[in-house]
Each structure stands twice: as structure tokens, then as C-alpha cells.
Point group: C2
Chain length 461, copies 2
């Protein structure tokens, strides 16, 4: 029966205004495993520990995301903001940063056009060209979604298809679901260190053309969750041969072990092929600075992009200041140069050591396969799960690796993310774990996890 | 002719991948005047001044947005971040804030569930209830759009209608356009200090029912751009009588002159009527902290909202720390209490003085009508524009008040936002101007603007 709200109101009744049935159906399809059930349970367990509930562990270790500051594996800008009027307190901070901050204060001067500070935009101008958005500071978590918004159109078979790697970071699949675009999977090659294979790209493109219009190729490099940096040979050729564009990359400033950036390469290709190409930087932990860089975009579309970005607020000022330092690190002779180099080398060599340690320890465990960790801050080991455990998972309504991760959490307090949240080849199982904990803690986590895995295998064999 | 991309590729051709024709049509419909052509021109003029081009003014005054820090009318957290390792430098900041910062450091501890710091969420829990999202820190510029995403569904006559005030802040109309929802205008009553009139709400609702399904009522309070705080009588009754919900409010923590908040009232109504209701706080300038509070939301939809929020990153840590201070200001006896009260009173009395000054000076100018500025940081005067100027604007393809604002900028360097960007009754013209400049500068701006207006009237009469 149709309920007339006016009649209901007269009778003192109200229909439920917003329910699962009446809400936006595309939002319901969004999935985001990085902050899914395992983390929810981890937070509950922390609360139980606080209340004195007895557990087989004394601490929950959140290895699910790569927050370098929370893990205290990188020098962190304090979360203390200094409260003061105009002019900087001369006792604060390093000289180099103070000089820049003063510059920022002067370039702020009221009313940014929503694209971030003018001064900063000039300083981060890394790609020459007419594009006013090049290297504009951007809310990093918004950038992929903003680009997708521009690109999604059509209905039925002409609906925009978006090619994403499997495994992928679920920000992409969530964005695609929210916009009701068509997700087109291409599989990374786990046997070759998660390389991007051009034959596989062609296969995915060919098959997708039957039911959508593929227009976007997303490349995540260094890989998240895979932690690798190689782009694979032949990608350039693929991009030139009538494949979808723009390329959407997701690049960290520094690899952990392999100093390789896909960014330069994608721009070379884009300049050559005349495809629009976009480079997105990741968020800077806790301060939310980031930027996007575009080349070859139609100027009229560029205007639309500027408009869309400016409807949102520009990133927080401290994040923009940070980004300036990231894009223009101290040069030899500048006040902070020595400490910058010292810290940077310490961080990178620490990460390289932890990456090595992770691969070594996991490789000793029968049933675990762990590729080298080259970039990002994650390992993404493949685990065999016995048939009986798969059945048990099905009975409980979980993906097999979700089941494994929940069991791991309950027994060890270690919180990692199931591979199914990122996508994986049918019948393979993985988890993503950050390598960021202090090296001694990391060693303990890796050992506990390996021991638990062996026990799990035994229990379900 | 249909272009086959494979054939084109074989011939070495590429279709333009992304053009105005092939992009998302809904994005093209988005408009956002606050950062529109007037500001673009203002930035150009600044550059021309820097290059030594002679102008009838020496400085561009951006009175288009209300950035209290850029205008230096409020004590500002410095844009300098203090770089340090674990542990706080004891020489930094006020004792009260340092104590809190230490608490935040402890409650951060790795892996927030994307809804912001757990500790902070507990501390900002202002509304009792089972809702885990109550007072969750949120990206303030994302919150209205996130709520709209949940509520938009249906096609044709069942497409969700969203009631917004006219004039409105264009974040709402932009969000509606992007989601292809139906914008339903209700007009605020300028003759009664921009009051919200329940008869007008009923009219708008009745008419909208013919072509969409109105499900959302947005209330912006204190008004932006109108700068007023009164909600009008009868709103409560309207909400109870089968009108759309949730109520979406946009509330600043403190009014300028009238200490009235619509928030408490809307929650009272929502609790009574069982409608979901949402309260959004505005962004904190430069630090991007904010929160959303919901009541009466279906728990299943609540979960969907949590998921949608957690796909995005939580707000920057400094913004969350700031929010803690905003929600839990220093209490008598605490280290920072005295300075907090002193600063707060100074800021509020300064704003009240400027609000008064603005109304006084504009009221002396024939052709300008300026309501009292009660809240927010804006005045929104109505201006008469002579018929000849309206014609001239039409010839040049501008809305009449856009034409006025561009002329004002060229001759005086003062940058304000045309009323047409916020919506206004047919045949009326306005502009929005922040009242935040230092009082002596504000006096000069108001006088220059009034003089220019008198000259403009004379020129086109």
C-alpha cells in the first residue's frame, strides 16, 4: 500500500524517512575493508583489555594501516599547535622551517581560491605547462574520486569502465561503486613480484569492451597493498596503442628499497601519446597534505576540474606547509640540510631493514609466500588455507582470509587486513600488514604471526 | 560516424579521451560562486599590482570569504608545526594545551578507524545515545555531501528533492547538482531579517511534490550568506507535520550578537518527531576540523554512514586537537581559563562592533538595505541596480550583481561575492561581504564601497 505522508501525519504517524530500502543504492555497494570488521573487533578488544578482561595477549597491535607517526617509525610533526598572534615566536622550530613558515604567512593573506595557497602552488610547480592545476595542493583522499567524477558518464554499455589492478587499494573500488561506474579488473602477476603485465591489460580491456566503455586506467605505484614498485615492461606501448586514459597513479615520494618512480615514466608516455594523465600524491600522515598533477587535459575540462576542487575546501594549512617541505626539501648549505639528510637516511635504511626482515621471517614458514617489499610500507603475503578452514569460514559467512584474520586477532591481538578486501585471484588468500612497527616489535609480531599460522594450519588440516 | 578506437589506434589516431562533451554531465551543472569569476579576477589584479601595473588602488582587499586568521581578527594557531620526536618540548605552548596534546598522543596510538581518534570521539560525545557517529570528527566540507549521498535515490518524479533556503551557501546547490538530485528552493524573508517562514516552507514543499520526492530540509543557521540567526516561529510545527527530514543544520559555535543556536532546537524537534536529524559544525579555518552529530538514524543506515565516512580519511590531527578545545573549552581553575575568556570576549565584542558598524554605514547609503548582522561573519546587503546597468550587464553576459562586483573590484580593489551566486528573489540584487577586516580597515572598505556604489548609481541613472 502506498503511504501518503500527509494522511500519516494527520494520524500522528510518520513513515521511516531513511531506511536501508530507501537510501542511495550505490552507497550500499561501497566496500572498504581497510577499516572493516577486523578493525572494529580490534577496537572492541582494546576496550575489553582496558576493562581488565583476560586475553591471551596484553596489547592489540594494529598492523592494518601504515601510519608512520603512530608507529613512531618516523620523526613526526608534533600534534601540538602553537597558539600565538601575528609573528612567529623566535624560540620555535628549526630555522629553515621557520623561514618558510614566515613566507607562508605572507602568501596566505586572505581568500585562497579554494585551490590552496597561491604561493605554495607556485613553489610546487614541478611540471611546466599551461595547466593552472598542476601540482595544486589537494585533499589526497578526494583526488581519485574527483577525477573519477569527471570521467564517469553514459548508461548501459556506454557506462564508463575503470580499469584497476587486483589487488588494489579499496579507495578505488569504493569510488567506482559510489559513482555506479563499471569496475574492470586486471590482475597483477604475483609470481613476478606483482608486476603489471601488458598482455593482461589487453585481455581485461578486450573483455570489458563488451559491456562498458573503458576510459580510465588506474595504476597504483608503489603498489598498495602489494608493496612493489615495478611497472612491468610494455606498459608504455599499451598506453600508446589506443588504451583508455588518463593514467591514474598513486605514488609515494620515496621507495623503501627500489628508488623507482612510475611518475616520470607515465608523464613521458602521456606527453607522447597526448592522453591526459594524472599523478596523485598520497596523504601525509596526520596532516592531510597532498597534491595532484595533470597533463594533456582539455582546457575546458581543466576548468571543470578546478571548479570541482574549489567546491571543497583546500587542505589544512599545516598540510600545505608540509607539502612545500616535501616538494622542496632542504638544499646543501640550508640550515636544516644536515639533519634532513640524516633523518631521511635513517628512515629509509630502517624501512629497508624491516622489509628484508619481513620477507625473511615469512619465507621460513611453510604455506606462506612473501614477495620482496620494495615500496610503500606493506607486505602482502599469500597464505594457504586448509579446506576445512575454508568450509568453517563459509559456515560463519566470512571470506576465508577474513576468518583467518579474525582468529589471528582474537588469539594474538595482531590486527591485519584480509586480502579479500583488496581483491585477489579466486582461490588465493592473503593479508596486508604494515612493516612500520619498531624493529624489535616487528620481529615479535612476525614471529607470533608465523607461530599462529602454523597452529592454524595444524588445527584445520 | 561512430569512431572505433581500435581502428583509430591502428591508424595512429586517438580520439580525445576526455572533453566537455564526454565528461560527466552533472559535474558541468555544478556552480560555486564563492570562488568564481570575481575572485579569479582579484588574483589576476594582485599579480598585475605585483608587476607594477598602475591601478586606482594599491591593494586588493578580499572581503569575499570569512577567514578570521587571514584577516588577523582572531588569535590564530601558527602555521608553524613543531618538528620533534616523541615527547613534547616543555617550552612550547600553553600548559593547558600541552596537557591535552599529551593525552592525544596517547590516544592516537595507531590505526584510527577512519572516524578520527577514539579518545577525541569520546571527549566530544555531546549527545547521549547509542549512535557511534555522534560527534565524530569529520571533514567539514564533506559532511553535507556525505549525508546527501545517503539520501539521494529514485528516478523521475521519485527522485529525491532537497529543500534549501534562498539565499543559500552554494556548497548545498553544488552537492545537489553533482548528485543529480532535485533542488527545492524556499525563500527566506528579507523584510523580517531573513527569517525562515513556515508558510513559505509549506508552499515550497507542496509545489515540489508534483515533480520530485522531497526528503531533505536544509537549514543554515546562523545564515550564510545572510548573517542572521533567527529560525522563525513555526519551524518546529512544520517539522512535526509530515515534512521532509533529516534537518540539516550548519551552526557556528558562537553567534556574533545573538547567542542563539538552532542546534538545540532542531534536536528537540527531532527527538520528538523521530525524524533523523543531523548537525554539522563548520570547518575551523585553516585546520579543517569539524564534526557531525546525528540522532534518530536507522542503525542500518548509520552503519552505511560510518562506512562512507571511513572511506575518506579522518580530519588532520591538529584539526581534531583543535576541535577538542572547541568542544571542551577551558574551565574555571584550569591553566588557560583566564586567557581563553579574555580572548573570547575580545573577539566577540570586536565582531559585534564591526557588525554594528557595517549596518550603520550601509544604512546611510540610498539604495542599499542592510539587515542586522547577528551571526556568522557576513553582511548580505541588498542593492538597487539601475535599469541601464542591468541592460549593460545583460549585454556583457553577466548577472547584474556580478557586473556590479566586477566593476567594484576593478575600481577599488575590493573583492566581494555577488548575491546571484547564493540565489536571490527575482529582480533583487545583493553582495556578500565579510565583516572580519580590522575595524579601521573595515571602516575604509565600507566607505569606499559606499562611495563607489553612489558613483555607480549616478553613472547608470
Amino acid at each position: 500500500a502506498i503511504k501518503d505522508p500527509r494522511v500519516m501525519a494527520e494520524n500522528g504517524l510518520r513513515d521511516k524517512v531513511l531506511s536501508l530500502d530507501s537510501m542511495n543504492p550505490w552507497v550500499k555497494r561501497v566496500e572498504y575493508a581497510v577499516r572493516g570488521p577486523v578493525l572494529v573487533r580490534a577496537v572492541e578488544l582494546e576496550e575489553e583489555l582496558r576493562q581488565g578482561v583476560k586475553k591471551p595477549f596484553t596489547e592489540v597491535i594494529k598492523a592494518n594501516i601504515g601510519d608512520a607517526h603512530a608507529m613512531a617509525s618516523a620523526p613526526s610533526p608534533s600534534c601540538c599547535q602553537v597558539h600565538q598572534g601575528p609573528g612567529l615566536d623566535p624560540g620555535l622550530g628549526e630555522q629553515g622551517l621557520r623561514v618558510r613558515s614566515e613566507g607562508h604567512r605572507q602568501s596566505c593573506g586572505g581568500g585562497s581560491p579554494g585551490l590552496g595557497e597561491q604561493g605554495l602552488r607556485v613553489r610546487t610547480q614541478v611540471t611546466p605547462g599551461p595547466c593552472p592545476l598542476c601540482a595544486a595542493p589537494a585533499h589526497p583522499s578526494l583526488s581519485p574520486q574527483t577525477m573519477l567524477k569527471l570521467l564517469v558518464s553514459g548508461e548501459g554499455q556506454s557506462r564508463t569502465g575503470v580499469m584497476i589492478p587486483i589487488p588494489q587499494y579499496p579507495l578505488y573500488s569504493a569510488g567506482i561503486a559510489e559513482l555506479n561506474a563499471v569496475q574492470v579488473n586486471y590482475y597483477l602477476d604475483e609470481e613476478h613480484c606483482w608486476a603489471l603485465d601488458v598482455g593482461e591489460l589487453r585481455r581485461a580491456l578486450r573483455q570489458a569492451r563488451g559491456h562498458c566503455q573503458p576510459r580510465v586506467l588506474c595504476i597504483i605505484n608503489p603498489g598498495n597493498p602489494t608493496g612493489t614498485t615495478g611497472a612491468g615492461n610494455g606498459t608504455g606501448a599499451f598506453v600508446l596503442q589506443g588504451a583508455p586514459a588518463p593514467i591514474q597513479t598513486h605514488v609515494y615520494a620515496e621507495g623503501v628499497r627500489v628508488p623507482y618512480s612510475f611518475k616520470e615514466r607515465s608523464f613521458e608516455m602521456a606527453h607522447y601519446s597526448q592522453s591526459p594523465s594524472l599523478h596523485l600524491s598520497p596523504p601525509r600522515c596526520g596532516l592531510r597534505g597532498g597534491y595532484m598533477e595533470v597533463v594533456n587535459l582539455d582546457p575546458a575540462v581543466q576548468q571543470q576540474l578546478s571548479k570541482l576542487v574549489s567546491v571543497r575546501l583546500c587542505p589544512p594549512v599545516p598540510g600545505q606547509v608540509l607539502l612545500d617541505v616535501v616538494m622542496n626539501p632542504p638544499k646543501p648549505g640550508e640550515p636544516s640540510y644536515q639533519s634532513f639528510i640524516r633523518e631521511k637516511q635513517a628512515v629509509l635504511s630502517d624501512l629497508a631493514h624491516k622489509a628484508q626482515l619481513t620477507q625473511e621471517i615469512f619465507s621460513q614458514v611453510p604455506g606462506i609466500h612473501c614477495n620482496p617489499v620494495q615500496g610503500a610500507m606493506y607486505s602482502f603475503p599469500r597464505i594457504q588455507i586448509p579446506a576445512r578452514a575454508v568450509q568453517e569460514a563459509q559456515v560463519r559467512g566470512f571470506a576465508p582470509d577474513m576468518f583467518f584474520c579474525l582468529q589471528l586477532l582474537e588469539e594474538t591481538g595482531i590486527c591485519v587486513v584480509p586480502g579479500s578486501g583488496f581483491g585477489e585471484r579466486e582461490g588465493t588468500y592473503h593479508f596486508r600488514m604494515t612493516i612500520l612497527p619498531h624493529v624489535e616489535k616487528l620481529r615479535i609480531v612476525l614471529k607470533k604471526l608465523s607461530q599462529f599460522y602454523a597452529k592454524f594450519i595444524q588445527e584445520y588440516s
